[in-house]
Subunit: 752 residues, 2 copies
């Protein structure tokens, strides 16, 4: 039976990767369209490739250093696992970005030729699905290899599957298991960190730079080919929103799986797992569950790929695909949980140490807890950021009083929006803990990410459509084409809200579960009640305070980095407009390449400091103040990073949509009121007033104010927010890798 279950995971990996290859070539063999379109797409592709190449060179050096250190200080298995993680994560990002830069122009061309939303959607989604399938397939492949080959040694596969565990197996578990698996997670994290941070700086520097001069000074629309920064902006979408997002979610997915697996191993070693059969199930459940989730996603993705005629309701079609994936995962997950834990005696299952309160269904229910929490958090984000609701409308209304109130209202909305999601998170933590102890918390993270292939496909389809629109605009195609791509793009933005909920939620759950393993790794306990991180211990408290400041510091550095790179971009765009006046008339072609280089250089230069700081902080302080201080750092950083991620994501989203609300004429109702007032009005003042308020759409002062808000919010929501999710996981992982060393050797121990 267990053998069969494990085979499911293998089948899922093979199918997913094959499917990705198939879709890749399906998309690539389509026509590019006109020569101009090909040219522009080529420029985007070259820019994106160049950046990723530079970035990967930098990351390779840092990665090599880390690998050597891990090899010397920890073990060769951990070093190999680290390299595997880094290579797989980097490859997923690379492949996904590659196909995105092929797909974008083909989406434009499909829209141009077919004028059909459904057909265009199919191309865009196929492109996105390559990334989705690669992320999940590669991640799972790596987990299986590392887990079976390096974590335990090949000989033990049979043992673990049968649940008959030998001395040899236990030796393997004790000597290298945790370190090797966290080495793998670390490899994925490092790539995710650099891709997210680098991509985030790149894309927002280009975006802000293009907007600050283009929209505000030269008053030309977005994606106008006359703007020299416009190609860089489109490259940024591929670099940040495709490659960055892909390796980010790969890392979350791996983190969720491995945090559960590592925890199971640690609990067994501390005598808290009272049967070998149970250990085997606890170790395999996350992998099998993820495998089934991947199969479910293949079904969901096939719905869109294979359905002969997609309807025009893009939102519905995408939702159906996602819900199929999620629904099948939840349904099959229930069966898996049942089959994997049903043979274990109830008294062992329900003992306090594991705490499966509702027997064999506990891990499954915990996963469901996670899924529900993720959806609810997404819905709450939606409430605070969509212009259908009061908060964002309020920001739009405030824009009438100028940019200061736009910003102020946005900050307030972002701050207020932290409360409810956190309450939901707390409920989910409490619920999943009650269901299955700390293991339940990692199951909740796993639940959120089990159908990651589907969500990444949808998330990647968004920037592909965005790019397609850009290409349509720059190639000066029929506006109808742009309308189709805009429709696809806007749907992408809505579905992204739920994705954000999952990102934050799963990061929090995974970080907590990794922290538990961290505490296990240096404590000598054999009861779950003894797992203590006492915040009243001054060392822990000081750590928590410093840790709490870290996300603020990190965010500040990122914002500054974006602003710095954006200012350089602004100067360059201004220079080009000044030196080549023909650009604005359309008689001269702007120099796109220099802008791309500025974004590249800016991102590569500015990403180092924040990333390296956050990698080194827990290690250096660990060697100085010891493991309790670092424990405090982890909890402090996790708590404030969650708050800041919510704050940044929601305030940024709200500003963005407040601007869109004004563009869509949302403030016009005021205008109509005034229209009526005009008729009744006897006083000249009322008329004058009405006139002042009349211009409330695009280009009005209110819109200008909203643009300021949007520009402020952009780096918050697209650079800082997502990077914070990674920050907490990378810090937990790196501490987990290093703790065995610094818990023995630290300055504090030597002195006190």
């Amino acid at each position: 039976m267990e053998n069969l279950l494990l085979i499911i995971a293998g089948v899922a990996i093979v199918l997913a990767i094959a499917y990705a290859v198939f879709n890749y070539f399906c998309v690539k063999k389509l026509e590019e369209g006109t020569e101009k379109m090909g040219e522009i797409a080529g420029a985007i592709r070259i820019g994106a490739n160049a950046f990723i190449k530079y970035e990967y060179k930098l990351v390779a050096i840092i990665g090599a250093v880390i690998a050597v250190v891990v090899f010397i200080v920890i073990s060769w298995q951990a070093a190999i696992a680290f390299v595997i993680g880094a290579v797989l994560s980097a490859s997923a990002g690379w492949v996904g970005m590659k196909i995105a830069t092929y797909a974008n122009v083909r989406v434009t061309n499909t829209a141009r030729e077919s004028k059909d939303v459904g057909k265009t959607l199919k191309v865009a989604f196929k492109g996105g699905s390559v990334m989705g399938l690669c992320v999940a397939g590669f991640a799972l492949l790596g987990v299986v290899i590392v887990f079976l080959v390096f974590g335990l040694g090949l000989g033990q596969i049979d043992e673990i599957v049968k649940g008959e565990i030998s001395k040899n197996f236990i030796t393997g578990l004790e000597s290298s298991f945790t370190m090797t698996l966290s080495g793998y997670a670390l490899g994925c994290s490092i790539i995710a960190m650099f891709n997210r941070v680098g991509g985030g700086i790149y894309t927002k520097a280009a975006d802000m730079g293009a907007d600050l001069v283009g929209k505000t000074e030269a008053h030309i629309p977005e994606d106008d080919p006359r703007n020299p920064a416009t190609i860089a902006d489109n490259v940024g979408d591929n670099v940040g929103d495709v490659a960055g997002l892909g390796s980010d979610l790969l890392e979350s997915y791996v983190g969720a799986m491995l945090s559960a697996v590592i925890l199971a191993g640690e609990m067994f070693m501390h005598g808290m797992v009272l049967s070998e059969k149970l250990l085997s199930s606890l170790l395999l459940f996350p992998i099998v569950f993820a495998g089934c989730g991947l199969l479910a996603c293949i079904i969901g993705i096939s719905y869109i790929v294979l359905k002969p005629r997609l309807s025009k309701n893009v939102h519905m079609e995408l939702n159906i695909a996602t819900w199929i994936a999620a629904g099948v995962t939840v349904g099959v997950g229930c069966l898996i949980s049942y089959f994997m834990f049903k043979d274990i005696p109830a008294d062992i299952l329900k003992t306090n140490e594991i705490g499966f309160k509702v027997g064999e269904f506990s891990p499954w229910l915990a996963a469901v807890c996670g899924i529900i929490a993720g959806i609810v958090i997404g819905v709450i984000s939606e409430y605070y950021t969509s212009y259908d609701y009061k908060p964002t409308k309020g920001i739009a209304q405030s824009s009438k009083e100028g940019p200061a109130l736009t910003v102020t209202q946005g900050l307030a909305t972002g701050m207020i929006s932290c409360m409810l999601p956190v309450v939901v998170l707390a409920l989910a933590i409490f619920g999943s803990y009650q269901l299955a102890g700390m293991y339940g918390i990692s199951c909740a993270a796993l639940g959120m990410l089990s159908f990651v292939a589907a969500t990444v496909s949808v998330d990647t389809y968004g920037p592909i459509s965005d790019n397609a629109g850009g290409i349509a605009e720059m190639s000066e195609l029929d506006p109808e084409v742009r309308e189709i791509t805009d429709k696809l793009d806007s749907v992408g933005n809505t579905t992204a809200a739920i994705g954000k909920g999952f990102a934050i939620g799963s990061a929090a759950f995974a970080a907590l579960s990794l922290m538990t393993s961290y505490l296990f790794a240096f404590s000598d306990i054999n009861l779950i009640e003894e797992l203590i991180l006492n915040i009243m211990n001054p060392l822990v408290l000081c750590g928590a305070l410093c840790g709490a400041a870290l996300p603020f510091f990190f965010s500040g550095l990122l914002i500054k980095a974006v602003a710095k790179a954006a200012r350089k971009m602004v100067e360059e765009v201004r220079r080009q407009f000044r030196e080549y006046p023909g650009i604005l008339d359309g008689t001269q072609v702007p120099d796109y390449k220099t802008c791309i280089e500025i974004s590249s250089q800016g991102a590569l230069k500015e990403m180092r400091m924040p990333c390296i700081f956050c990698i080194l902080f827990p290690i250096v302080t660990g060697f100085i103040f010891g493991p309790y201080f670092v424990g405090g750092v982890l909890i402090g950083a996790t708590i404030t990073a969650i708050m800041l991620a919510l704050f940044c994501g929601n305030s940024g989203g709200a500003w963005d949509n407040a601007k869109k609300y004004i563009e869509a004429g949302g403030l016009k109702d005021v205008k109509e009121d005034l229209e009526k007032l005009k008729e009744d009005a006897e006083k000249a003042e009322a008329l004058a007033d009405a006139k002042a308020e009349e211009n409330v759409g695009k280009g009005s002062p209110a819109h200008d104010a909203a643009v300021v808000g949007d520009t402020v919010g952009d780096p918050l929501k697209d650079t800082v927010g997502p990077s914070l999710d990674i920050l907490i996981k990378i810090m937990s992982t790196i501490s987990l890798v290093a703790v065995v060393v610094f818990s023995e050797w630290n300055l504090f121990n030597l002195i006190f």
Copy 2:
């Protein structure tokens, strides 16, 4: 000896209050100046009085409800102590504001008549000193009464002084001591909360409203009598910066003293204080130390009041006064610490349970730790907010690219600025803990606030000078008068930075020490090592998450409240300008009263929700989830509130000063560079560019952008930041009062 020491405190109280009365009448008997000046000052006074009256009515109702609840649920002693605290705190705010509204016009008049900075400074400082002396005098008086009369009962005074403690005494300690003392602290906290929040909303609504229309639309300078909101703005200074600040610092001072006293009592009851003599010293040290600090402040204040001719270097004179107060406090504090603890055997003093690592000097050294930390945090704030340094200059430079980058840079600076102060705080916590255990942490808070009379005097002198400038402007006096008051005002802003460091630092220390007492109050432990708040306990963890969101939620509500009230003000000012066009020509007098009412009503309405929410949150969740959850809430809230307070204070300050930097011509160096460029330039573009950059002072686009930043920052630094300091203390205090009840009776206990 101990009797003598306690007498010092009594003498300090009597002297301080007498001195305050003397200065009050000294200032009041001065001339008001011209009729117009009297009129304006009268309007400000009436506005301020009316608001405080309304506010105190509201607070009286809420206070009465709390008093009754405390009486029923806790004890009559606690209820009386609560009322005493509330009345004393309210009175200090009232008296200080009263004299400030007399002093402002008299400062203007002194400047007008004498044209001498020194003489004007003396009047302003005398006015401020009334508040400083009242705050410290009233607070200490209340502490002595509550401590000796209601905390222990009158009969025990002699016992405690002699260190011979009877059964009776211990019974008193066990039955009502902690509750009564924290009841007193709660009374002070409630008033501080409402005064700070209400005053903060009032002042910033008026300020933002006046600026948004006046500066941005009508282009009239600040404090111009044509702006209808200008009187409301000046009323706001008195309400927020004088009364709000006064009761805020009174509360901090009380919190610092009582957290030490309560902790000493709790430690004794848990068997951790191994001698009665030691208990007596621990209980009395904070009071005696504070008494000496007050005497030292009287000396420092007298330096300015009595010195026949003050120099023109206002900054130096104020610094000398503060340093005298601080120096004498530190010096005498050393002696007190020595005399109070020298008779206690070293083995008792140095045992782990108390942990006086360096014997009788330990509490004093811990206090010094606090003072140093406060100063360093202040200096760091100064670095991030003063325009002499890079961060603020960077914001000013960014303003050239428009408001979006101003805001972005300010946010980044604020976020980055959180790191260093927190590291200093952590070091100080660790240091004071190493010196004298948890008692040391409360001593650190005490150290920061021991010379509060001097710092409040300086802090209050600022808004008095600010008001004086406003009156000079509105009465259309000689610009020379305004120059003098501006000079005084600008110095006030600089000295305020150090004050902020003390405010945040002491709040953090006091909250931590109160939290220790909170844990003592429901745990059954007799070793300090057993004092555990395990963050890995899911209940504590969920509490910490929810607690961490609270300061964000609270801040968001406050910002929203300010923005809402400010928008109403904007509408009113616009209406007046529209309906009475004569106002802008100076032929019609604007309707100041309506604006004052709008600010009043706005503040009164908007302050309720955030304040009541924060008071109820720990109590309600305590009754539902029990004391461990609330413990988590307290630690989570404390940690994020410190971060947010630093972020808000520093970003707001930096924006403010970036604007001032531009006004002072800070961007002109760029202009000079361009001047040179012009000579060399051959291209017309360079000239055009130079022209565009030429206008870099007041009224330039860069300045407009900086004004946006300042407007965004205003509510952050003046409403949110200071309110957060109170938030964490009020939550700790209220939890401490309620914990005995909800640790027995809570829903969670019933279910699980």
